[in-house]
């Protein structure tokens, strides 16, 4: 799971969320906006990096995972929430699925200065104020909650009151919301281990070097249900529970100043109105509501 990536100032982040969530100010406006966008695509005025085509980036080279993408990691199947959503947005703008092209973009390079060779990047990227200074984001296409994943044998599975939670050793991927959540909400007494990739954090978890990792609920669900297994292919991890949402959400990432973001937001608004987003979420992400609730000590 590439997931979650970064986030920092939650205060600033929530301000953005608020403005971001004011998406559908009325279906009439949305319909008009999307109609204009469809027209400008037809007339070739939509600012696309490759004329007539929607070029979508994700971290293809490092692996794409369920439930965001299809089982085989191929983004062009339309399977998985993000893949399906990318095609739904394209279709809403009048772009046929044949004209949706996928390109690889590693997470780290997505925010380097300079121009981008994609129209947008869909890669479970959390929207933050800091990031928004360097790149542009679409409105939310998914609101995220953080959850704890631990080995079934670890004490945290039974003991996870707000005070208990402080006493474990946590590990997480660098720059992720999960890491930020640990530091700002759980505030553990022991030094947090910071890993370069999520697989390293998982390796440390299975090796018993950390008690728990914090990842967003969908990712954690997949890890516990399928990814973290022993030599006999038996799952050994469990999702202990999820925290209340801290205002984090995922957005599509654009090159700074790309005007295409307006039409993509129009499409997201339109898909929200039509109920497409809700149905894709229940198709692919529905299981996540069943995860038990946890409470951290409030900061």
């Amino acid at each position: 799971m590439r997931g979650l990536k970064s986030l920092t100032t939650l205060a600033a982040g929530s301000a953005l969320v608020l403005s971001g969530l004011v998406v559908s100010t009325g279906s009439a406006t949305a319909t008009t906006a999307i109609a204009q966008c469809q027209a400008s695509f037809k007339s070739g005025h939509l600012p696309l990096v490759s004329a007539g085509k929607l070029t979508v980036a994700s971290d293809i080279n490092n692996g794409l995972y369920q439930p965001w993408f299809g089982a085989n990691g191929n983004p062009s199947t339309g399977k998985g929430y993000e893949s399906a959503l990318a095609y739904a947005i394209a279709k809403d703008l009048g772009i046929t699925s044949k004209n949706v092209k996928w390109t690889a973009e590693a997470f780290d390079s997505s925010f380097a200065p300079g121009s981008k060779n994609f129209d947008f990047d869909i890669n479970e990227i959390s929207v933050t104020a800091d990031r928004a200074q360097v790149v542009d984001f679409s409105n939310s296409y998914y609101n995220v909650q953080q959850s704890i994943v631990a080995l079934k044998t670890n004490a945290i599975v039974k003991h996870h009151s707000a005070t208990d939670l402080k006493n474990y050793t946590y590990g997480d991927q660098i720059g992720t919301t999960g890491l930020d959540y640990i530091n700002n909400h759980i505030k553990p007494t022991k030094q947090v281990h910071v890993y370069n990739t999520l697989d390293e954090a998982v390796a440390a978890l299975t090796a018993g070097q950390v008690d728990a990792i914090v990842v967003d609920t969908p990712t954690g669900q997949y890890m516990a249900a399928a990814q973290i297994v022993n030599s006999k292919n038996k799952t050994i991890a469990t999702q202990v529970g999820q925290f209340p949402t801290a205002g984090e959400h995922y957005g599509l990432l654009f090159e700074k100043g790309n005007t295409l973001v307006g039409c993509v937001n129009a499409a997201i608004a339109d898909l929200t109105t039509k109920g497409t987003i809700k149905s894709l979420q229940s198709q692919y992400l529905g299981i996540y509501n069943k995860v038990p609730k946890l409470t951290p000590i409030q900061p």
Binding site: S6, V135, G171, H193, Q209, V210
Partner: protein
């Protein structure tokens, strides 16, 4: 070098450096790149840290690099010497160890350190083999550095030992010195003098490779810079880390050069010991 030559050479260096800086300063996107790598505000935050935003003080994190480096270097010097010694020993009963030491150096010089780091840092604790599996990440990181660098340093030692003329060994043996005494009193002191520059090279690499241990979740200077980069979308942290590394390696290099020069002077000049 005469005074005029010195003036001319510093002037020309200044002009060349100036031109390079000017070129990059004037580049169309230069201001953005400068902000990305050299933002003064980020620079300050990276030095001091900001716990409220989960940002580390790179200066504090660098302490980890420094003590890891010092500890590992001491151990590497000892293990590397042991390996080289085994490799060069002629005693028949040590033959299996000699082969083992040859294989060891070949293997660990050949494997990228990051792979060893993974194997040790995740493999050993993952085995759940009691005590050895319950160490901290930093212990596994140090073990990795020592394992790998001992192989490099063993080869440096070996080259040094081979560079000592056979006559020296013969002379030592003919005085009745044992194998160990010959090594300790005659070969080693000469070998080490011959290999100080390559040894130093390996030490500087070792020092820099302490920046790899972030892979095991340890927040040292480079990992702290990485955290900052991922959170703030700005790489100034790496600049701070680089400067800290330089602040350590440059004086070390100069000091070693000074020692080498001093030793040479002493050997060729009068005998005031």
């Amino acid at each position: 070098m005469g005074r005029r030559a010195a003036v001319a050479s510093s002037l020309s260096s200044a002009i060349i450096v100036g031109l390079i800086i000017w070129f990059f300063w004037r580049a169309p996107n230069g201001a953005n790149v400068r902000h990305f790598f050299l933002d003064p505000h980020s620079f300050w935050i990276n030095l001091t840290g900001d716990p409220s935003r989960s940002l580390y003080s790179i200066l504090r994190c660098f302490e980890t690099n420094v003590w890891m480096f010092m500890l590992c270097e001491a151990l590497v010097l000892i293990f590397g010497l042991g390996l080289a010694w085994l490799r060069l020993s002629r005693t028949p009963i040590l033959a299996p160890l000699r082969v083992a030491s040859a294989i060891y150096t070949d293997v660990f010089r050949g494997i990228p350190i990051i792979l060893v780091l993974f194997a040790v840092g995740y493999g050993v604790p993952g085995m759940q083999a009691g005590w050895i599996s319950q160490r901290t990440p930093i212990t596994y990181a140090c073990a990795t550095l020592v394992i790998t660098y001992s192989a490099y340093v063993a080869e440096v030692y070996r080259a040094g030992m081979n560079s000592v003329p056979n006559g020296q060994v013969m002379a030592a043996r003919s005085l009745g010195l044992s194998d160990v005494q010959t090594m300790r009193r005659v070969i080693l002191p000469q070998a080490v003098r011959n290999v100080v520059p390559p040894l130093l090279n390996d030490f500087i690499s070792l020092q820099k490779d302490t920046a790899l241990v972030g892979t095991l979740g340890i927040v040292e200077a480079n990992q702290a810079a990485h955290v900052f980069g991922a959170m703030e979308f700005n790489y100034t942290g790496y600049t701070v880390a680089a400067l800290l590394f330089l602040a350590l390696t440059i004086p070390m290099t100069r000091y070693t050069d000074h020692l080498i020069a001093k030793d040479r002077r002493r050997r060729l000049a009068g005998g005031t010991v």
